[in-house]
Amino acid sequence: MRSEERFEGLDALVADRGGALLATATLLAGGPAAGEDLLQAALERVMRHWHRVRDEPEIYLRRTIYHLAVDQWRARRRRPEVLGKTETELEVAALRAAQPDGTDAVHLRLALIQGLAQLPPRQRAVLVLRYWEQLSEAEAADMLGCSLGTVKSSASRGLARLREVTAAWAVEGTPAKKPLVNGVWS
């Protein structure tokens, strides 16, 4: 196939690392479908600059995913998919969260992921870099092409927002039945 001949190694890269790349794109874009769109857009960008990036396509691809997520995706002002969960599912989850039972952990995860998807793109990107990719603040700043201070403030605001959106749930439904204190559940 022509694409395989021209973009040698790209198919192999996606076959080998596609799952991780799609996972990153999914967390950034707010859902699996939007994530696949984001990954495809990044691949198109890589193809456009193939002559420059073919030696290290994964690095460029990952960087492009983040940059598109922060810039282009933000420009579209698209409502996130809330990671594939329907609103009804989320409503049910929210209701159940108010009634502690054996699925508390699932409800907390839903609340966190929903909160993540509703963050501004840069805050979301910083949190994904820090807590999904496990990068340092300096590495995250390098990936996004911004200052260390921007990463710190974005992370701080993003985490603060997540604490807010999960606070009510945490009070009523944390497994340990203890309130949130200084960002720590016990």
Partner: protein, 334 residues
């Protein structure tokens, strides 16, 4: 046990994306989109048509957000995604690309008038089946082309040739800068008028048949009509490899006038999957007269099939001298 929100967030992320795998054709899709954009940029550069890229971009935006937007493929049921690869967007790109190249065109137009009745008091006439078979070349950039059109009355009895012109004929056709020229054969006089290639092939005494309104052998013109008036849906893919084809269906409504009731034109557009060039356009409609004074016994049905091939074929056509001018009907291209 104490867990920070950072730990919980990291764990939630891991659980949320576990098992995700990209679609098997993701790279191929990206490559196709990449090639499509490259071709459009090159076409715009070569022709100097600065507006093409912008027009396509607008088309992509409009197509992805319009009420007729349809979603297909792996992301079909996923809200808000795949906007840039909607059927409309892909079709806009394919038709825009095709309109930048010359091509060989085979056009077959069939007109069926079942139980044709000229007036409410006249005797119904038998079924008449007209058939026009045109083979030629056309370049939408210069709005020029040439070919031969074979017109036949395939069936029917009791027709009055004076009502319909020549019953059978092998008609030479040229299109030069939006003017058509026709003659019945070598040594016969040329007649000319202002109109589209499609209209030149199915003229009704110099006036285009209503169903050919906005019908054009120029994909860009037809595309404009579809985008302005109609809707597009994807009908899926057939074949594989170099022979893979994407099929789209479209429809738009044509307003009635003093002589015809409102009617709907429907059709299909088949696009080569790999090259994103149009392979075939089929369109049909059925019209009924609006005036009881010229009421037909049944609807008049038209079907036009255009097959495109040999993209890039050289086209060099000159206007014949001494052509007799006929009343023109259209201001459209192609």
């Amino acid at each position: 046990m104490t867990r920070t929100i950072e730990d919980l967030l990291a764990a939630s992320m891991r659980e949320e994306v576990v098992g995700l795998t990209p679609a098997p054709d993701l790279v191929a899709r990206a490559a196709r989109r990449h090639r499509q954009r490259t071709r459009i940029r090159r076409a715009a550069s070569v022709t100097g048509t600065a507006g093409i890229a912008a027009a396509v971009a607008i088309g992509l935006t409009v197509a992805s957000s319009g009420p007729g937007a349809v979603r297909t493929g792996p992301g079909a049921a996923k809200a808000g995604s795949q906007a840039a690869s909607s059927p409309q967007a892909r079709l806009v790109a394919a038709m825009t690309t095709s309109a930048q190249l010359s091509y060989r065109l085979h056009l077959v137009n069939t007109s069926i008038l079942p139980g044709h009745q000229m007036t409410p008091t006249s005797q119904p006439r038998d079924l008449i089946n007209w058939y026009a078979d045109y083979t030629g070349v056309y370049d939408p950039r210069t709005r020029s082309g040439a070919g031969v059109n074979i017109m036949r009355r395939q069936s029917g009895t009791g027709t009055d040739p004076s009502l319909y012109g020549k019953v059978d004929g092998r008609i030479q056709v040229r299109i030069v800068s939006g003017n058509y020229y026709t003659r019945l054969g070598n040594g016969e006089p040329w007649f000319t008028g202002r109109g589209t290639l499609v209209q030149a092939l199915v003229l009704n005494g110099g006036r285009a048949w209503a169903p050919t309104d906005r019908a054009s052998a120029d994909p860009a013109v037809l595309l404009a009509a579809v985008r302005r008036l109609g809707s597009v849906t994807s009908a899926g893919k057939s074949g594989s490899g170099a022979r893979a084809l994407d099929t789209y269906t479209f429809r738009y409504n044509i307003a009635g006038d003093a002589s015809l009731k409102p009617h709907r034109l429907t059709g299909t557009i088949v696009v080569h999957d790999q090259s994103d060039l149009i392979a075939k356009i089929t369109m049909q409609t059925s019209v009924t007269g609006a005036s009881p004074q010229i009421a037909d016994g049944g609807p008049l049905t038209f079907k036009t099939v255009m097959t495109f091939s040999d993209y890039g074929v050289p086209v060099s056509v000159q206007a014949p001298a001494g052509a007799v001018r006929l009343p023109g009907a259209a201001k459209l291209k192609g």
